[in-house]
């Protein structure tokens, strides 16, 4: 058992099948490469593909001892903007300094520090559309690296082979991470 | 004593005669072989449920009355009716 440490808490909001769970795990692997600790918690229920799903991640300089859900985020990552209509954002954000990173082609006003990146277009451009689903998690992870600095761009890219099977897909996703990193914008 | 040894002593059983008791006392009828009729075919030995009939080297048969329960299968299967079931006398 150890004592409490400063933790950055993430909520990843998306629809079932969008890769929110994997995104949280990539974040943790990247944190490890940066010499940090972390934890990726999926939220499982009866929901199937398409339902609103939350995943959580904690990144810290010390081992994470908490196992409860992340109720309120330091960083809210939104994989598809239309889920914002289905939740009360104030319920999910820790405080006024909390950050939101949304997959959107246009700026979004939320009353919080909000960033946007057109992850859908990036995945389309790279052909990262698998079984009809756009891979939006990797461009968003690039954006997370840029905006928060909690994990590094290189570590995210270096973590991809652990999660992506084929080599060409690793390359394309790495490109997606970079494009997300470069194209994320403030409100 | 080690746990493993103690367990072996109580948890495990080893083969022994009379594990179900001295079952010869269950008997009401006693199989008696009429050796003059016996053809030494071994059929009684083959079907005896209790393994109390020995089919000796010379193919004669020998009944172990300590454990024979007196079921009478041997008499029933004997092709030449060389085994009689005789009522045990009350001693």
């Amino acid at each position: 058992m150890g004592s409490m440490a400063e933790v950055t808490e993430f909520i990843i909001l998306g629809r079932g099948g969008q890769g929110g769970v994997t995104a949280a795990r990539i974040l943790v692997s990247a944190a490890l490469k940066d010499g940090k600790w972390g934890q990726a918690i999926p939220e499982f229920g009866a929901e199937r593909r398409g339902a609103v799903v939350k995943s959580y991640a904690r990144i810290s300089d010390k081992p994470v001892i908490l196992h409860s859900n992340v109720r309120k985020a330091d960083v809210l990552v939104v994989l598809i903007a239309n889920v914002l209509d289905l939740v009360n954002i104030d319920d999910l954000m820790k405080d006024k300094d909390s950050i939101m990173i949304v997959n959107s082609s246009t700026p979004i006003r939320t009353g919080y520090r909000t960033y946007y990146v057109d992850a859908t277009s990036i995945s389309e451009k790279l052909g990262l559309v698998i079984a009809g689903w756009h891979i939006v998690s990797t461009p968003l992870l690039g954006a997370v690296a840029k905006v928060t600095g909690v994990v590094s761009l290189d570590s995210i890219i270096n973590s991809l082979p652990e999660f992506v099977g084929r080599e060409n897909l690793v390359k394309l996703n790495a490109e997606a991470v970079k494009m997300g990193y470069e194209s994320v914008r403030g409100e | 004593m080690k746990t493993a040894e103690k367990l072996r002593g109580l948890l495990l059983s080893t083969p022994a005669e009379g594990a179900g008791g001295r079952t010869g006392t269950w008997r009401v009828y006693r199989p008696v072989v009429n050796y003059s009729k016996c053809t030494k075919c071994g059929i009684c030995w083959l079907y005896c449920p209790e393994n109390v009939i020995e089919w000796l080297e010379d193919k004669n048969i020998k009944i172990n009355y300590d454990y024979c329960k007196g079921c009478g299968i041997c008499a029933d299967v004997c092709p030449v009716k060389a085994i009689d079931m005789v009522k045990e006398e009350v001693v």
């Binding site: - | 059983s13 083969p15 594990a19 179900g20 030995w45 083959l46 209790e50 393994n51 299968i73």
Partner: protein
């Protein structure tokens, strides 16, 4: 095909105690007759996994046992699964000896049916002998899936209303390499079958008919007589399926012809469990037997 066993060959076991005398079995117990035959077939070198049933009680009291091979007594429904694990372990250690499940009809046809089916479809390297005395005899004669139609038991006081579950045919449809029926009255046939089964790897099933004097309400000495009459009246058909081929076994061959079968009454009348049967019941029973013969003979045509 290997030569058939003869009683002359078995003379070498004339003084071998495959079951130690002085067991807790009822007088005239068919299970001990069958188990001795099994042991002769396997030269006494095998292990048994035994679920709850008469055979858990028969060996007598711990720390002693009448059984002379290594035995694992296990819960009622578990024996095929336990044997599956056991056989994997012993094979990993390069021991190719037989792992035998010795189970009654309740453990096989009823409570353990799922584990039986699972082990069979996985084709586990097990010999499964179902010693069928046609009821839960150990708990005091309650009807099981293989109790005969119209047979009295304590849970079918007016006679069982359902037909006997045909476990051997169900096992055949699991596409295992070896399935046979056998009878304790035909030791040479049973021993041959065990030995032939041992030539095959995978799941092998033998349904061994085992008349029980107390359970069938008959004289202790009638065990073999009843088993033999079951075959001679055609009520119990001895057959063997070995890797694609299904044949009627030699003791049953004459009874393919109905006229050569003994009258069914001879089998019925020695059993108290059928004492309530009316002539029309016996006639119906005979029709069921005829239909079973038709089915088995058709199967011999299919599995030629």
């Amino acid at each position: 095909m290997m030569s058939m066993v003869t009683i002359t060959e078995l003379h070498k076991y004339g003084r071998t105690k495959f079951i130690m005398p002085g067991t807790a079995a009822c007088p005239g117990c068919p299970l001990q007759v069958g188990m001795r035959q099994l042991a002769m077939a396997l030269d006494g070198k095998f292990v048994m996994v035994i679920p709850a049933g008469c055979s858990s009680v028969i060996p007598g009291s711990a720390p002693y046992t009448a059984y002379t091979v290594p035995v694992l007594h296990v819960p009622f429904a578990s024996s095929p699964a336990v044997a599956s694990g056991l056989v994997r372990a012993v094979r990993q250690r390069n021991n190719n000896g037989p792992v035998v499940v010795w189970a009654g009809d309740g453990a096989t046809a009823d409570i353990g049916f799922a584990t039986l089916s699972g082990a069979a479809y996985r084709n586990e390297d097990i010999l499964y002998v179902m010693a069928d005395n046609e009821a839960y005899m150990n708990t005091g004669i309650q009807a099981s899936g293989t109790t005969s139609w119209m047979a009295w038991t304590t849970t079918s006081p007016k006679g069982k209303t359902e037909d006997k579950k045909d476990v051997a045919l169900i096992m055949l449809m699991h596409k295992v390499p070896y399935v046979a029926t056998a009878s304790i009255a035909y030791p040479m046939d049973f021993i041959d079958k065990v030995r032939r089964a041992m030539q095959v790897r995978g799941f092998r099933f033998i349904h061994l008919h085992s008349p029980c004097p107390p359970g069938w309400k008959m004289d202790d000495s009638y065990t073999i007589k009843a088993a033999r009459l079951a075959v001679e009246t055609g009520a119990w058909i001895l057959w063997e399926y070995n890797q694609g081929r299904l044949t009627i076994s030699p003791p049953s061959i004459p009874y393919k012809d109905k006229p050569r079968r003994r009258p069914l009454e001879e089998y019925i009348k020695i059993q108290g469990r059928f004492s309530h049967l009316k002539p029309e019941d016996i006639k119906l029973m005979e029709e069921k037997i005829d239909r079973q013969w038709d089915l088995i003979l058709k199967l011999t045509e299919i599995f030629k």
